[in-house]
């Protein structure tokens, strides 16, 4: 039974993690991305709430422990599938974009929370019940739990390539169903028991086959970019590709005509009629390859005879993106995070001879390459991490960075996205990869009040200064249209002949220069007038000693991002919230800069929910035993510390491996494998509270050491082959993870004899809740103080947990 139980727990844990990943994909595709994070966090509180339920109901549930565990697992399977079948209520009834405008959306939101909470609650209840009833065997069970969780993440990496997000939960639901059947007691049953069991099994199977053969259609919010594009006449999805990066859709829409910030003097056609969307969000346009313009791509319904643009001109010549090609004739071009490759196509039209376009989303690279048919002798479109690719010692005449922001503002949607191409460390690397006359170019959407432009400019200026450039103003050019601005950092000084070309370019396109050497103030607003002079004033200050004052006093965060705090799009300063709320109003605020606020809101929400559903009921129930404060500190400490360390490892190894997906896989696998091993050995190695204290102290010291040395160690190993890197990852993560894995099962064994194990569900609830809280906490600390501070905090929590083991309850070990 024990071996079968361990296998069942492994299968169940695997399904819970896999379902969490699937939900993230589904919610990102259907709703505003911010809410995916918020909803999942609350759903994960099912872990904490299960502990509360067990504290109340354990004595009833253990009477037929085998049947109860099996039923909980089967119900987990049914609820996973049920969530999808009720998707009209869960994902369709609720529209995250309307939550600030329609009061009834609150009810829908609560309904969504509840529906998503149920599978996690049921699954976690089964695990918690097994832990508390079979506490002596906790090492083996905890190992199975961790191993299963690790496998769940890896399973989804494979599964999402072959099935759609709406099908994935039905595959996942097989696991808890199998787990339940595996441990269902085979002894004598009453007729009622047999009938009940058969009915349940049948229901699960019917749901399973229905879902797999005919997966429910997941309704998307009408405000997602994809939904709105599909409303255009004759718009249709022509290709779909599933991947762990998201669900890609290639859409054809004759009325699309994407041309960001096009000059008002352009009078030709815009031949862009196709675009790619990832999880329902805009990814990029498919700009036709020069010379490949066919009758189809120019079929503009209802268009008067307007094809009078000269054949040699490209429509993007009339955008600010043309600036680097006005300044020079780059032959070797690197396009970082190329998305759909449109910047590479434009470089091709400007006669670049060798173009390397790197995009991390390998599914998108495949889709674009298949469709676009790039000339292979001139464009290499490869899947990979741009920063990683740039480590190779090569030189480029032009490095193009991806567009920053989006039309009409991104509502701070990228605030917590790590943008490693827009950090000071990245710009130093880019500078080193430029040929003597090389340029770095980036185009941003103009935002009001100005923030992204200023942050990008500050990044360029500080980079130039760090590279001993005497006067950065001689190396930077910026030109703006009514909606976009392109900034160019040139390795060599901008010559007077180039300045003349820039002036002509601006004049013919009706653009305004913001920066070039020797610019006069009146040149800055000839065609596109701004409401106030904030942009000009701040731009000039960035080049002066008053820059620090500007960073401090400006109402938005415009200090350059670094690898330790890689949040280029995080502009919100918490201290200025009330000023902005007064000006923009509470209802509009979420659409100005919401990303960071959502994390804070999530944290508050989780803390309140934890209190309401976990702490309060337990206070009512009066958990037996004295001095539970020590236990609370211990179990919350190890819950927080573990998750904080895990999140720092994932962040640090993303750059190391050059892929967030591989980094997450490697880190999670290593963490869970070594923690599981630690857990399996815990009963032999930890026989009393002094040893538990020693392990906690050692863990804290190891994490502190890593906070100090990890970046330096990584710099040494970053150029190594993949096998060496994986070994390095295992060597770094292994020792602390092994020690961390021993803490939870050891402490559970320690408290098992107290009041017949009645404290175990409580400990399970506390540990689960604080693990969830810490994910939001890690995001907040890393934004405010950087990742190193997160690691220091992880170390501190383990040290504090160690101190708390001086408490009397820990003295009883079995």
């Amino acid at each position: 039974m024990k071996r079968r139980l361990a296998i069942s727990i492994g299968l169940l844990s695997c399904s819970i993690v896999a379902f969490q990943v699937a939900l993230m994909q589904i919610l990102s595709g259907c709703q505003w991305n911010h809410f995916a994070y918020m909803v999942i966090s609350v759903a994960m509180l099912g872990f904490g709430a299960s502990g509360t339920a067990l504290a109340f109901l354990k004595k009833y549930l253990v009477q037929k422990i085998g049947t109860t565990l099996a039923l909980l697992m089967i119900f987990t399977s049914i609820s996973i599938m049920g969530t999808l079948f009720l998707s009209r209520t869960v994902f369709g009834g609720f529209d995250s974009y309307l939550v600030f405008y329609e009061k009834r959306q609150y009810l829908n939101l609560v309904c969504s929370y509840f529906m998503l909470f149920v599978p996690f609650f049921l699954g976690a209840s089964a695990i918690g019940l097994a832990y508390s009833h079979y506490a002596l065997d906790i090492g083996r069970l905890y190992f199975a739990d961790l191993a299963g969780s690790g496998t769940g993440g890896l399973l989804m990496l494979l599964l999402l390539w072959v099935v759609s997000p709406s099908q994935a939960p039905f595959v996942i639901a097989c696991l808890p169903l199998a787990a339940g059947l595996l441990i269902f007691p085979s002894g004598r049953k009453t007729v009622a028991e047999k009938t009940g069991f058969l009915t349940l099994a049948l229901l699960a199977l019917v749901l399973l086959f229905t879902g797999l053969l005919n997966p429910p259609l997941l309704p998307s919010s009408q405000y997602k970019s994809l939904s709105r594009t599909l409303l255009l006449p004759d718009a249709r999805v022509v290709e779909t590709k599933n991947s762990p990066y998201g669900q890609l859709k290639r859409v054809s829409a004759p009325a699309l005509r994407y041309a960001p910030g096009l000059s008002l003097s352009y009078n030709g056609v815009v031949p862009v009629t196709e675009a790619i969307f990832n999880n329902g969000d805009w990814m990029g346009p498919l700009v036709p390859v020069p010379g490949k313009r066919t009758k189809d791509t120019l079929d503009l319904k209802g268009a008067p005879d307007r094809e009078d643009a000269p054949e040699t001109e490209h429509f993007l010549d009339y955008s600010t993106q043309a600036l680097p090609y006005v300044m020079g004739t780059p032959k070797k071009v690197f396009v970082a995070d190329a998305a759909t490759g449109w910047q590479a196509v434009y470089a091709l039209s400007r006669e670049a001879e060798a173009i390397i376009a790197v995009e991390p989303n390998s599914a998108a690279v495949g889709m674009v390459s298949r469709h676009m048919n790039f000339p292979k002798d001139r464009i290499r479109f490869v899947a990979g991490h741009s920063r990683y690719y740039l480590q190779k010692d090569d030189r480029y005449d032009l490095i193009l960075l991806p567009e920053a922001g989006s039309f009409g503002g991104s509502s701070g949607i990228l605030a917590l996205e790590e943008q490693y191409l827009f950090t000071l460390d990245a710009f130093s690397l880019l500078w080193d990869r430029l040929s003597p006359g090389g340029m770095i170019a980036v185009t941003l959407w103009m935002d009001q009040p100005p923030r992204s432009t200023l942050k990008m400019l500050a990044t360029m200026v500080v980079t130039a200064e760090s590279r001993k450039v005497e006067n950065p103003a001689d190396h930077i050019v910026a030109v703006r249209s009514w909606s976009t601005i392109t900034l160019v950092l040139s390795k060599s000084k901008v010559s007077s002949s180039t300045i003349e070309k820039i002036r002509t370019f601006c004049h013919t396109r009706q653009f305004d220069p913001l920066l070039y050497p020797g610019i006069r103030p009146r040149e800055r607003e000839e065609y596109n007038v701004l409401q106030d002079t904030s942009l000009f004033l701040a731009t000039d200050l960035i080049f002066t000693r008053e820059r620090e004052t500007l960073f401090r006093e400006y109402d938005f965060q415009i200090r350059p991002a670094t690898d330790s705090r890689p949040y280029f799009s995080q502009f919100l300063k918490l201290g200025r919230l009330s000023k902005m709320r007064d000006v923009f109003g509470s209802a509009s605020m979420p659409f100005l800069e919401v990303g960071y606020l959502i994390v804070l809101l999530t944290m508050v929400q989780i803390v309140l929910s934890s209190f309401l559903f976990i702490v309060l009921p337990l206070i009512f129930r009066k958990v037996p035993g004295k001095g539970k404060a020590g236990l609370l500190v211990f179990f919350s400490g190890i819950g927080i510390g573990y998750m904080l360390a895990e999140m720092v490892f994932i962040q640090q190894f993303t750059l190391f491996f050059g892929s967030p997906l591989y980094a997450a896989s490697a880190v999670l696998s290593a963490m869970l494998f070594f923690s599981g091993t630690g857990s399996a050995f815990s009963h032999k190695l930890i026989t009393g509270s002094p040893r538990l204290r020693l392990v906690a102290g050692l863990t804290g010291m190891l994490l502190a050491l890593l906070a100090l040395c990890l970046p330096a160690l990584m710099r040494v190993a970053i150029g190594s082959p993949l096998v060496v890197k994986v070994l390095f990852c295992a060597l770094v993560i292994g020792p602390p993870a092994f020690l961390m894995g021993m803490m939870f099962p050891s402490a559970i064994r320690a408290i098992r004899p107290v009041n017949e194990g009645s404290l175990i569900p409580w400990a399970w609830a506390v540990n689960g809740s604080f693990s969830v809280i810490s994910t939001a906490l890690a995001a907040v600390i890393s934004v405010e103080a950087g990742y190193q501070a997160v690691m220091w905090m992880a170390a501190a929590t383990y040290l504090i947990a160690g101190i708390s083991t001086r408490f009397r309850l820990f003295s009883i070990f079995v």
């Binding site: 997602k224 008002l264 503002g409 923009f584 209802a587």
Partner: protein
């Protein structure tokens, strides 16, 4: 067990109290829409600095509540946009007024609107101009707006179903053009259809928050844009640093 029940009942009571929190009431019978419209103009539009008399008059006259879903009528005069389906919203009253005031319309003017939506902006424009042509690419929205405007007796508005990118060359030139549908670029044909001295206004932002407005003007063949924020927000002044 009694404690559990007490706790559950407490939760239930808290939950049942939620729908009666301030602001969650769904409607009071016999609302005085004219009074609320007047308050809307005073508190949301004039208070924010829009003083163009004809615009204010139009905003007082057009019955905004008839342009939203019946379920949302009680909220028609609130200071925010409201959903109208198909991924669209009816703009915040202040934004409608601000955009209209920027156009400087006269009774003899001919106006083109791209993105009819509910038809509310067209109705406001029609109060101040000779004729309004409004184009909507989503058929369902276009037919809904056409019927609504006909029923309300707006005889100087023509709703055209179709792609607004090419404007209406047959009806050009226009004294003013309003592009309420989000546009990453300004369609060149629309600029051509703007008459000398004409103005075009384009809101930039999401459906739920207009961050800034682009005012395009055509004077002596020269085209200029002005970027206007609907709110006064200066993130930094030199004096602050000293």
């Amino acid at each position: 067990m009694a404690r559990v029940l007490t706790y559950a009942l407490t939760l239930l009571l808290v939950a049942s109290a939620l729908p009666v929190l301030p602001g969650s009431q769904s409607g009071r019978g016999g609302q005085d829409y004219a009074r609320r419209r007047s308050a809307m103009v005073r508190d949301q539009i004039v208070a924010r600095g829009v003083t163009h008399r004809a615009t204010l008059q139009a905003m007082r006259s057009v019955e905004r509540h008839l342009f939203v879903d019946p379920a949302l009528r009680s909220r028609a005069y609130e200071d925010n946009p409201l959903p109208i389906g198909y991924g669209q919203t009816i703009s915040q009253p202040f934004i409608v007024a601000y955009m209209t005031s920027l156009l400087g319309l006269k009774p003899e003017h001919r106006v083109l609107e791209i993105g009819t939506g509910s038809g509310y902006q067209a109705a406001v424009l029609a109060m101040m101009a000779d004729s309004v042509y409004t184009m909507e690419i989503v058929k369902e929205l276009a037919s809904g707006a056409k019927k609504r405007l006909q029923d309300l007796g707006y005889s100087n508005i023509e709703v055209v179903t179709g792609d607004g990118y090419y404007g209406l060359p047959g009806k050009a030139p226009f004294h003013a053009i309003v592009v309420t549908a989000a546009a990453e670029h300004i369609p060149p044909p629309l600029i051509e259809q703007l008459c000398e001295g004409g103005k075009m206004v384009i809101p930039v932002g999401s459906q739920f928050m207009v961050q800034n407005l682009i005012l395009v003007e055509k004077k002596k063949g020269r085209i200029t844009t002005e970027n206007l924020m609907p709110v006064r927000f200066v993130p930094f002044t030199r004096e602050d640093t000293r």
